[in-house]
Subunit: 333 residues, 2 copies
């Protein structure tokens, strides 16, 4: 600012008044122009930290995540949040804590000390969290997670409606013997997807046989084992609902090794619409889209005051993505 003052041959106070854009000063227009030109010529950069100190706010929006930035699952949350932040000329600063409480604490402290006062907290998997004490009193919106504090706003996928919709899709194709490959993932996602499934079955007047639900960890190999257990029996299901796409990838391998044609002998539906696999399986996998971009976008929009979210949990729909893995069951000979 001193350089600008010298170049424009005015006082620093005049430079400060002109560059602050305050309307309540009486600076002659030629002087004002001279200051603006000097500032531009010198590449003057308004000091956001000084402004933030004065105003107590920052252009940065903090996104604290467990490992969204370091895993292949939830990157669209970041993109959605960024798209919303950018519309308000705010920059998303993403800090990934790798599930380390000490790192989370330091990261939050560091952002708070930089006057960052708007925070998204995002998790890779839909789960319940405790809001870090350092963020009490700050503007916070949770994305893909919920907390015990009923006043905090959060946006999560509507897993239950998704489980219901996936099941209805199979029922509409004429399947009644539907096997479930559960993922045993801790947290609400798998539980709610399963609950939605059972509701849709009950609505259709069908009782789900307990031994048609197999619980295994949600990776490909576990999905393959679970599917084999379900398919290797006389009254085998005509369709499987796998509670994530990795398990469905394994289930497809199991069906192939048993010589089953897909979708004629076995229909498959997954959940997540996971990049890299879902669209590229054989047959391409019909699945439920996790609304990750929308979660990030809605969360950031509400955080920045552009939209409103009610206190507590808002659930966003998981749309059905129709591909080639579901058909009516082949007629039994």
């Amino acid at each position: 600012m001193q350089d600008v003052a010298e170049a424009a041959q005015v006082s620093q106070t005049t430079v400060s008044f002109v560059l602050s854009g305050r309307p309540d000063t009486s600076i002659a227009e030629p002087t004002r122009q001279r200051v603006l030109e000097a500032a531009q010529a010198l590449g003057y950069r308004p000091n956001a930290m000084a402004r933030a100190l004065r105003q107590g706010t920052s252009t940065l929006v903090g996104l604290i995540s467990d490992e969204v930035a370091t895993t292949p699952f939830a990157g669209l949350i970041v993109r959605g949040a960024q798209d919303a932040a950018w519309q308000h000329r705010r920059i998303l600063a993403l800090v990934s804590t790798s599930h380390r409480d000490d790192l989370e604490q330091e990261a939050i402290d560091s952002l708070l000390q930089h006057q960052v006062d708007t925070f998204l907290i995002a998790t890779m998997f839909h789960r319940r969290i405790t809001i870090p004490p350092a963020l009490r009193g700050q503007a916070v919106v949770l994305v893909n997670c919920i907390s015990d504090d009923a006043l905090v706003r959060s946006v999560v996928p509507d897993e239950q409606a998704g489980g219901r919709l996936a099941t209805t899709h199979l029922l509409e194709h004429g399947h009644t013997r539907i096997g479930i490959v559960d993922t045993l993932h801790p947290g609400p996602a798998a539980t709610l997807r399963l609950q939605g499934h059972l509701e849709a079955m009950a609505d259709a007047g069908l009782a789900q046989a307990p031994d048609r639900i197999v619980h295994r960890p949600g990776d490909q190999e576990a999905g393959e084992q679970a599917a084999r257990q379900l398919l290797d029996r006389p009254d085998r299901p005509t369709a499987l609902f796998c509670l994530n796409d990795r398990a469905a990838m394994g289930a497809q391998a199991a069906a192939r090794s048993l010589g089953l044609r897909m979708p004629e002998d076995l229909s498959l539906i997954g959940y997540d619409n996971q990049e890299v696999i879902a669209a590229h399986l054989h047959p391409a996998l019909t699945t439920m889209q996790l609304p990750h971009h929308e979660l990030g976008y809605q969360g950031a929009s509400a955080l920045l005051g552009a939209t409103t979210l009610p206190p507590g949990c808002t659930r966003l729909a998981c749309p059905l993505v129709r591909r080639a893995s579901v058909s009516p069951p082949a007629r039994t000979p």
Copy 2:
């Protein structure tokens, strides 16, 4: 600070002196203790922005990336950089620009205005970039990318040595008819992988037939087409080197549809060791590990002065990951 002064019944100047830790003041010890206790009781947080303004530096390290945070490919770069930053009590603030120059410019300005003065620039795919003009004169290390400026430090995967090693692995198993599924990806990765392959073939006294190299985009479907073209001929290759794992996933589907046993009738090697797929194919895919964690870690360590990197480009090895998709070729009947 005013609250602390009132609670400790001293002047703000005294509080400032005590909390700044300056040794050159003569404040009575009981007074000093009273101020420290009041500060602690009130949860006084030293203002990092004020300190940064004074010292011209920040606890934040900027990581500017094209889309590392929003795609499933290079998350380990972030984790590696974060691990290194954290060792020096620095917090990584990740800004993803989605390949938008205007957003990149604003993001960099915003970080500079917050006195951030150490920057990693990372790209999802290994490629050549132009360093944003706003970062000239700042401490910058490039990760997974290179620039035209020979003085800038960068760390990238050694793609050429990786292509050589993958090929040597096939040659050692007795393969001489090796097909290449090229990925047509712009940038140095595919080109250098192919170059390493040709060198290893030449070293073994083998000429690579041009029609055994098929160029297609690097997704699963293109890999499947390319593999089918290579395998659907009388002198079909006994092994394929696919220049990424997605193409290898497609090649596996092609081989399966042609009734080829793997690895007996066809060995496959990929590149990337891509999460979600490489370890979970049937057979599990032997591939080359992209050293993403190491790239991030080395880049951040050098940026923060903990290690040194020479000016220009440093190449890190891509280790071979042995799984089940490579065996000696079956004897021709």
